[in-house]
Amino acid sequence: MIYFIALIQVICMQIKTEEVLSDLIHKIIDISGTNIWKCYQCGKCSAGCPMVDFMELLPHQVIRLAQIGKWKEICEANTAWICAACLTCSVRCPRGIKIAEVMEALRQVVLRNRLSNKRLNISEERIRRLPPIALISAYRKILE
């Protein structure tokens, strides 16, 4: 249902020049080093994504919204923060778009501009139990 609503929202959206040319969207393109306008919405990234069940917007929807400059919608969705950077989308994209890299760029723009008060919510008991590899990689990807 939530995907359906998101789809309707995309269909009904107004495309504004100033949004398409917004700095934040261009920063994402700079940081990820990928041309998001090559995307033709085949949905292969979303079809193969292992974390898709927990995402508010699907990866291909994020790319589409980025193309039309809808920064607010992308930023409010949890998609980039659920991404596990497994690169399945990036290796499968027929247009060679590095989607995982776009997700990382999105996180970077949010963190660098302090647009969210992101922190890791883990209990002390879980910190003791988690192996260093999990803690370091989560810290690197989610907070750094």
Partner: protein, 306 residues
């Protein structure tokens, strides 16, 4: 043959069984792993950002340590270390601008400049390309005969294309390794699907779901155990089962082993008692089958350590 070895953070604590079994197994195969005299954490994940080279300093420093030791090749066992180090090495060699920046930052602390010559290889690659599956096959015999093992590649061993050890969509290396160890490799649909990786910290509920899907898929394919090459996959899929069980009591646990533990058992070295404590899902079923189908000298005992 001697080879430089980079352990990484988790192999010294939560995955000691991974390291210990690898060192002994490779020695048995004529390869001595020489741990780098000095190493630091590689950062565990490769940074995708194109505008900040600071993230690549940690892996490049490790590559420099290999050159300082006079070697050109470094072996890793952890898939994530392998991916991070190999991608950093590639970035250093391919991107002249970033190379200059990295060298410029490092020159204050490092007496020697990194020359870009370190080659990073994974344990499975070492067996495939340097030792040879046919040679391994001759040494292993029938110790794991009849055991059906499902190889779990995960992400970092295969992706991105060109960095991974095999084709990301249709890999063979792990299956071939299992067959060379004398066990039967069981392919299953989720063998190269992500386990959720570091999301185990922030979104454990998503990782539990991944563990359930992956384990059930391996079980359905007829496997007796899942074989992994990454301590994070091992944690998510092994410990994750305990969380699945707490939600769904009808879920039955499924053994998860490192490929080096299987290698160790296949070479007739058995399975060390102290490794059991580092596993979550009970291993008795699988270990009993190793014992039953091996000759008497191979039963469960630890070898004499030099």
């Amino acid at each position: 043959m001697e080879i430089s070895y980079y352990p990484g953070c988790t192999l010294k604590v939560d995955a000691r069984n991974f390291e210990e079994s690898a060192i002994d197994s490779f020695r048995e195969l004529g390869v001595v792993l020489v741990e780098l005299a000095r190493w630091n954490c590689c950062g565990t994940v490769f940074s995708f950002t194109t505008d900040n080279v600071m993230y690549h300093l940690a892996p490049v420093r490790n590559l420099l340590r290999v050159r300082e030791a006079g070697k050109e090749q470094v072996l890793t066992l952890c898939s994530m270390c392998f991916n991070t180090l190999k991608r950093a090495a590639e970035l250093f060699n391919k991107d002249a601008e970033k190379r200059d920046k990295i060298l410029n930052i490092m020159k204050d602390k490092e007496p020697l400049a990194y020359d870009g010559k370190t080659r990073v290889i994974h344990g499975i690659e070492l067996i495939r390309d340097e030792i040879g599956f046919d040679v391994l096959k001759k040494k292993t015999g029938e110790n794991l005969k009849g055991l059906r093992l499902a190889p779990y590649y995960g992400c970092m061993l295969l992706r991105p294309d060109g960095v991974g050890i095999d084709n990301p969509e249709n890999p063979r290396a792990f299956q071939d390794l299992i067959n060379a160890m004398g066990a039967d490799a069981v392919s299953f649909p989720f063998q190269s699907e992500c386990c959720g990786a570091y999301q185990t910290v922030e979104h454990p509920e998503a990782v539990v779901e991944r563990a359930r899907i992956i384990i059930n898929s391996a079980r359905k394919a007829g496997a007796d155990a899942l074989v992994v090459s990454c301590p994070l996959c091992a944690y998510n899929l092994d410990q994750g089962q305990m969380d699945v069980k707490s939600i769904d009591s009808s879920f039955e646990t499924f053994p998860v082993l490192y490929f080096t533990e299987c290698l160790y058992a296949s070479l007739g070295l058995g399975f060390r008692e102290e490794w059991k404590a580092l596993h979550y899902a009970p291993l008795e079923g699988v270990l009993a089958r190793i014992r039953r189908e091996t000759t008497s000298k191979l039963i469960g005992a630890a070898p004499n350590k030099e």
